[in-house]
Symmetry: C2
Subunit: 577 residues, 2 copies
């Protein structure tokens, strides 16, 4: 490629609405152009990166036996109604009516359509397993699109769907996809981590997220540096901090704590460690029984320095449909105001659930169920009934790893992939069955597997940039190498050497661009550093007189003189690294 025949348009400054570095750098590098909120044109340089990302995904998906097809963007509402997602998806699902008033969704994902395709095609277990994927534009009408390609409305996703005859088959398909994803993200040249994830509302039996590690990531991911354990914050299990409860040493006492409703201020007032306090969180669950709505009161207990994990709360039997209690509900159930609740003297019908760590605490401080007072030296069994116990909190750095092989660390990540064991949720709703070995109809066991193609660009940049611009991993860079001739239009010697090198590199299969725009060196280098091409060769008269060219990697602080005659092999060596 010649820069004079390509379109390069860089900016000194990013537009003011670009809040994060990847968005700023993609705008400055001329890779994307905003058309509307969360809607971007992929400019030529950006599109080259997308195509490379897609090509790697496609190769690895094909290698893993998945079969590519292409499902439509505009999908009939009827299919989405079969699974109930037409209602469930809410305003995120972009809906459109045709000239006859028929309703359609612009696809945010394609479980319904692929299940419809497959139920029409699959008759027998002999046709299984199957895994179909496509790489297609998606639309999600996000409430607040932002961060450029990281949270856009129109974006590109690779989504795959596996179909199996039984659970074991589905888990085998899942494993194949997990391994394919590992191969894909490895080939991208990105630091990433696969973490166990919560299954969320879809149900199913297992799920992993693939995160690109970046300090600016939206998600906290939990891992054990001395073992394979990794999970996202929602799913990471918190073990009790103490193996068993110590014997009480204090008597319980009521202390005045006027206007002191937070554990932090109680600890300060009483001059105790925050870790000695217990915070109480009142929940309400409404149940309908024979047309009558009844309310249940639940009190959750966390150590003062811990954070509630709402996903875990939702998994406690009875709490799938909880909400926080209102102040009126608290007054009615506990006879006091928020900030002074506690497990001591709480009567049924309040159900008390203590976090595992709280259940093993001794001599703790909690609310006295009386406005202006807390209790110190409270103990389970003696002062309060033994509580139900559950894992209710987010893990923190230094917690024991659930696999018993070390302690947990936390880092930030950007979710770019998700593999999911769906089970039969969609196939049952849509009556997608096959005849099994005994000739009996059975629902297809499904898995689904997504990669955010355009989001990869943002994530790669968040992980790889410096004050000059983007630093693309070679495998997804818009160009592998840029040739920067010093005076291409002035020096015959430079032109000749550049053209010769360009031809040899092309022959060697290197994705190379010549900057023949006639810019001054400073402006030329600044452009390519901003765009993030990982390798650069400068061709100048001075070096050529000694038979040398200058090589500089995008992360190198200095250029290296390389004999012109050996440059192609030198570059091939660099690209093979």
């Amino acid at each position: 490629m010649r820069a004079s025949r390509f379109f390069i348009s860089t900016l000194k400054d990013a537009p003011s609405d670009a809040e994060i570095v990847s968005h700023q750098l993609m705008m400055r590098a001329g890779m994307i152009k905003r058309l509307g909120s969360g809607i971007y044109t992929y400019m030529p340089t950006g599109l080259r990166v997308i195509r490379k990302v897609e090509a790697i995904i496609r190769e690895e998906m094909n290698k893993a036996g998945a079969i590519e097809l292409l499902m439509p963007l505009v999908q009939p509402a009827e299919l989405w109604q079969e699974t109930g997602r037409w209602e469930k998806m809410g305003p995120e699902l972009m809906r459109v009516k045709d000239r006859h008033g028929r309703e359609f969704a612009i696809q945010p994902t394609s479980e319904e359509v692929i299940t419809d395709v497959v139920r029409g095609e699959i008759k027998s277990y002999r046709q299984l397993p199957l895994n179909f994927y496509h790489i297609q534009t998606k639309f999600r009408d996000e409430r607040r699109p932002r961060f450029g390609l990281m949270r856009g409305r129109e974006f590109t996703m690779k989504d795959a769907y596996s179909f199996d005859r039984d659970l074991a088959g589905m888990q085998a398909s899942y494993k194949i996809m997990y391994d394919a994803y590992t191969a894909i993200f490895t080939r991208f040249g990105l630091k990433f981590r696969a973490v166990a994830a919560d299954n969320g509302a879809i149900g199913g039996t297992g799920s992993h997220e693939f995160h690109v590690i970046a300090s600016t990531g939206e998600d906290a991911i939990v891992y054990c540096p001395t073992s394979d354990y990794a999970a996202n914050m929602e799913a990471a299990e918190a073990l009790p901090l103490a193996a068993e409860r110590a014997a009480p040493k204090q008597d319980m006492a009521k202390v005045a704590t006027p206007n002191t409703t937070k554990c932090e201020t109680v600890a300060e007032l009483l001059k105790i460690d925050l870790k000695q306090t217990v915070k109480s969180i009142a929940l309400t669950v409404e149940r309908e029984l024979e047309g009558k709505v009844t309310k249940e009161n639940w009190l959750l207990l966390l150590r003062g320095d811990h954070e509630l994990n709402e996903i875990k709360v939702g998994k406690v039997p009875g709490l799938s449909n909880h909400r926080f209690a209102t102040e009126d509900e608290i007054r009615e159930a506990y006879g006091t105001v928020p900030g002074y609740l506690g497990p001591v003297g709480t009567q049924q019908p309040v159900r008390v659930v203590a976090d595992r760590t709280v259940a093993n605490m001794t001599d703790f401080v909690c609310g006295a169920n009386e406005e202006g007072y807390h209790l110190t030296g409270a103990n389970w069994g003696r002062d309060a009934l033994e509580p139900e116990v559950a894992d209710l909190r987010n893990v923190v750095e230094g917690d024991a790893s659930p696999d018993g092989k070390g302690v947990l660390a936390i880092e930030r990540g950007i979710e770019v992939g998700h593999v999911f064991q769906l089970g039969t949720a969609y196939s049952e709703a849509m009556k997608a069955t096959f005849l099994d070995e005994n000739g009996k109809p059975a629902p297809l066991q499904m898995g689904c597997y997504g990669i955010g193609v355009t989001r990869i660009l943002g994530a790669a940049i968040e992980q790889n940039f410096d004050d000059k611009g983007i630093i693309w991993p070679t495998s997804i860079a818009p160009f592998e190498l840029v040739l920067c001739p010093m005076g291409y239009d002035r020096s015959e010697m430079v032109k000749e050497e550049t053209d010769k090198l360009y031809a040899s590199l092309q022959e060697a299969g290197v994705d190379v661009i010549i900057d023949d725009r006639g810019l001054r060196p400073g402006a030329m280098f600044a452009d390519w550093e901003l765009i993030g091409v990982p390798h650069r060769v400068v061709i100048g008269e001075r070096g050529l007189k000694e038979g040398n060219l200058e090589y500089q990697g995008r992360r190198d602080t200095e250029a290296t003189a390389v004999p012109a005659s050996g440059m192609v092999d030198f570059i091939k060596g660099k690209l093979a690294q």
Copy 2:
């Protein structure tokens, strides 16, 4: 590729809603699957063809200096309002509102967005010329989607847009695209013809359509077998059939023609040649002048056997806004009923326009402007005022070619590409200007260039099929070659030879599939003949014992024995043809 790891699903019969052969065969071959009216999933075999079509387009577009980017599907209404197309496009433009009530179009084409991109990027004539293209999903809410991929609602199009500093530059860009299209359709291996087309409502200065020739084509295309002349029916110029008018031989006479209102029945009644009759077509043009609407009456004259060309009528000065007159309007203007109109005795303010052929007729038969009567032996100048003359009719086979180099032939075609000199219509509406050499702002000169990617599949099949199925040209076939082993799972000899050949062919870069599904030969062959793979090799024990394999091209009536040792070279030879 192994068929056992691919997805092949063929049908004995096409669904009843598939009206044309390409639609029937694509459904039967399992290449597309209907999701809704005019909306299809591209199944794995169909998608492979689409990808090959796209790859050829991309290569030739890049070679021609066009630069690929990707514009969004969902485009803000504001841009479409700038050019007035938000209103003009009518219900074909699929419109959608987001959660905030903002309006968007799902793109049917991208003139507005590319002009918006370019007006933000192009400052100076030094940045020109530029040509951007993308290959993107489009949506047009057709009133009556049909014919599978030929007239779908969701489809894939390659659209390119050129930007130049002046008319000469734009025409040069247009020529480059015209040549690129010629290269593209040649590489598809399709019989095609580029024809001059009418510019339609968009205006501009020139336009060509690219048609795939097929007897089932929707469009009539006109060409001269002995010259380069080619045009579509709308644009093909009709010369006068007689070089000059002969002298009158008859006196004019009024003859009774009760209940005889068509030229055909008049000719029958009077026992004359239809070519001696003239039909009169009454038009009305409404004009608003200072708030008052006035009506003009126009009478168009065609030879009895000719067809009116409405596009040409619209180009007659004064008739851009015409419609057919109502019966009441005819009674009022001509004092008679439809079927008996004629140019003799017609008074101003009726404006008479004769087709070129009619203007040179002598002793013709026409309506007498009196119910139940026609005139015979009518002559211009003597019986009727000399009319205005224009080209008003469709050409017919045997007409003189407008270039004077032969006579016209007509064949059927399917429009698959269109190149268009837009001029400044969009750039002026959207204020897309650049600074010219004198530092003065000037509107960009634009061209636009479309190829219907998915329609190519339908057109290729309409041109290439037989009673067994599709016959793909090799360059866009889903696979170039299929290996059909006889007993892959039973004969070690067959399996070994097949696997060896497969490996060698893959190494030679042949796009080959092994049918390892274990079907009986008849079913296996029928599948591949239906799918249309152009080359087939059968590996069987009988032949192998003599060292032979069997080759058969899709159009061949018989197989040819080829030594196994030479098969790779033999295939390479076939593919190079």
